[in-house]
């Protein structure tokens, strides 16, 4: 720090308007000057264990601690590893991760079945609460669903054509609401 003035001696007026009071990050940040040392701080001891942890390519390695919840696995894991080749500022990082999450959801169902467990999707969606607190809404939705399904079946059996799309759209809406 001390040699900065010499370093900038050739710049006329260097630092004349520096104002330590101009600190819009207060009181969120208690400015100490530690930022100057960059990453050269004393790091906490490092967590060690054998699981696979992906790390952002915007840092040199792992952090001192990390979560061990669900290591990458299966096809979703392959997609996640691919995603981590891109930096956090890139869609190439985040869009594959969203795709991996959807693939992972299907893997989850197969995983349940493999363990002899048949997931009760209605229960997982908390429909018991819907029944308890929103019977009217539930009935309305069931009715609309039934109507759409009947209409779609009627239309599809009449001619194959474009109405197929309508079914897909309402299905998607159903997915988003529930």
């Amino acid at each position: 720090m001390e040699n900065i003035p010499e370093q900038f001696a050739h710049i006329k007026g260097w630092g004349v308007d520096a104002d330590p009071e101009n600190e819009p990050t207060y009181p969120m940040k208690h400015y100490t000057g530690d930022d100057r040392r960059r990453m050269n701080y004393e790091r906490p001891p490092r967590q060690t264990n054998g699981i696979e942890v992906l790390h952002s390519n915007e840092r040199p390695g792992l952090t001192a601690v990390y979560g061990t919840s669900s290591p990458p696995s299966g096809l979703s894991g392959v997609i996640r590893r691919f995603a981590f080749r891109f930096s956090e500022g890139s869609f190439g990082h985040w869009l594959p991760l969203i795709l991996a999450d959807r693939v992972n959801m299907i893997e989850g169902i197969f995983d349940d079945l493999r363990h002899g467990f048949f997931p009760n999707i209605m229960a997982e969606r908390g429909w018991k609460a819907e029944w308890k607190y929103n019977k009217k809404g539930l009935a309305k939705r069931a009715l609309i669903g039934a109507l759409i399904a009947t209409a779609a079946i009627v239309l599809l059996s009449k001619n194959k054509g474009p109405k197929k799309r309508q079914l897909a759209a309402s299905d998607d809406d159903w997915l988003h609401r529930w």
Binding site: V53, Y66, S70, G108, H176
Partner: protein
């Protein structure tokens, strides 16, 4: 042990076969959970909006619990201590922690440099299993956890892990001057707390905006503020301009985040097509409704890719935008004393109390805003 288990968007359950957490680092502790809330942030995970939310994860970043076991490096925390655990995982020694930016620790999340580690908040926030379980691993146990004072109700304590500090910091970042008009978007737990805390900074007028009448009604009494439904206001920005003599609010707070309603275009591109990191309707309104040279404080959470906001108006109006995850540890001493003095009544916002077994129902109720829900808390049987 019993733990919440995420199975995909809108699907969670309580499973009994989750392995007990282990000490994986000398500064870890294992905590037996006594209270665990569901947060508006959890809804972003639950709705499948946060990238790298893996199936099998346990959510939960707002919890209290009793210390069951400590690693060899832990010095302050003792087995048997009843603690409240800030939602941020913070090392206490990196340059960011040293400057009290505990929500921006650089040693707790390998997966993303832009986000500090958060309990139970996807792999984008470090891949930690969270507190909607009977037991949880707490890293850096000497840094975050705070022993709950003997006089404090555990229901108050659990809200000091996130909602109270977040609401308080929302008001603090607003740089409120005595007499200021503060507009808070969102009457969820965070917005209600932000409105309440705005008075502590000397606001002259506090207005809260939402679309749910029962929440507005609640905010009116709990936060003693004006409350308006944007569905009946027409254009909420114009309403705020008119009610401030066509000047604009002094401070606007975004306590909604990426699942904002109110604009079909934002909802379609942000929440349905995922072309944006969620919808930024509330932030859009905040920027447009604040006065020139005003301050916009953002605590609503957005995803990492990017959002449509009127940045040209930010420039032309000379706005200051302040935003962060709350730095819970920084604020705790002050907020504990505010609770003791009766300035804030955290547990007053809890409306639902469910056993951990009923986690699927709890998420559904909170997500669909059923039964006039403001804040649900899960209580494990072992608590």
């Amino acid at each position: 042990m019993l733990a919440m288990n995420y199975r995909g968007p809108f699907r969670v359950r309580a499973d009994r076969n989750k392995p007990y957490p282990e000490i994986l680092h000398p500064n870890d502790a294992i905590v037996r959970v006594t209270r665990s809330c569901i947060c508006g942030s959890d809804l972003h995970l639950y709705h499948g909006l946060v990238p790298d939310t893996r199936v099998g994860m346990t959510f939960g970043h707002e919890f209290t619990g009793v210390v069951e076991e400590v690693g060899p490096g832990v010095q302050k925390l003792k087995v048997g201590d009843h603690v409240l655990v800030p939602f941020n995982i913070a090392c206490g020694t990196c340059p960011f922690c040293k400057q009290e930016l505990y929500g921006n620790c650089h040693e707790s999340n390998p997966e993303a440099t832009a986000v500090g580690g958060i309990f139970g908040y996807s792999h984008t926030a470090g891949g930690y299993d969270g507190g909607q379980a009977e037991y949880v691993r707490v890293p850096y146990a000497d840094v975050g956890p705070e022993v709950i004072p003997a006089w404090m109700d555990p229901d108050d304590a659990v809200l000091l892990t996130d909602v109270v500090p977040t609401g308080y910091q929302a008001a603090e970042m607003g740089g409120i001057k005595k007499g200021d008009t503060v507009v808070v978007f969102g009457a969820g737990p965070v917005g209600i707390m932000a409105a309440k805390c705005s008075w502590l900074f000397g606001a002259g007028r506090v207005i809260i905006i939402d679309q749910l009448d029962y929440r507005l009604e609640f905010a009116r009494t709990y936060a003693q503020c004006e409350a308006y439904n944007f569905r009946s206001l027409g254009d909420p920005v114009l309403f705020i301009k008119k009610t401030t003599d066509y000047f604009g609010a002094d401070v606007c707070i975004d306590a909604v985040g990426c699942e904002a309603a109110g604009s079909a275009m934002q909802t379609l591109t942000g929440r349905k097509m995922l072309l944006q990191a969620g919808s930024s309707t509330a932030l859009f309104w905040a920027i447009n409704a604040v006065k020139k040279g005003g301050i916009v404080s953002v605590v609503g959470v957005y995803g990492p890719t990017g959002n449509l906001v009127p940045i040209g108006n930010v420039l032309n109006k000379g706005l200051t935008i302040r935003a962060n995850q709350a730095s819970v540890k920084r604020l705790l001493p002050k907020l504990i004393s505010h609770v003791q003095n009766g300035y804030i009544d955290p547990k007053g916002i809890i409306t639902h109390r469910l056993p951990l077994e009923e986690v699927a129902e709890a998420y559904h109720i909170f997500s669909q805003k059923l039964d006039h829900c403001i804040k649900p808390v899960l209580v494990p049987a072992a608590a």
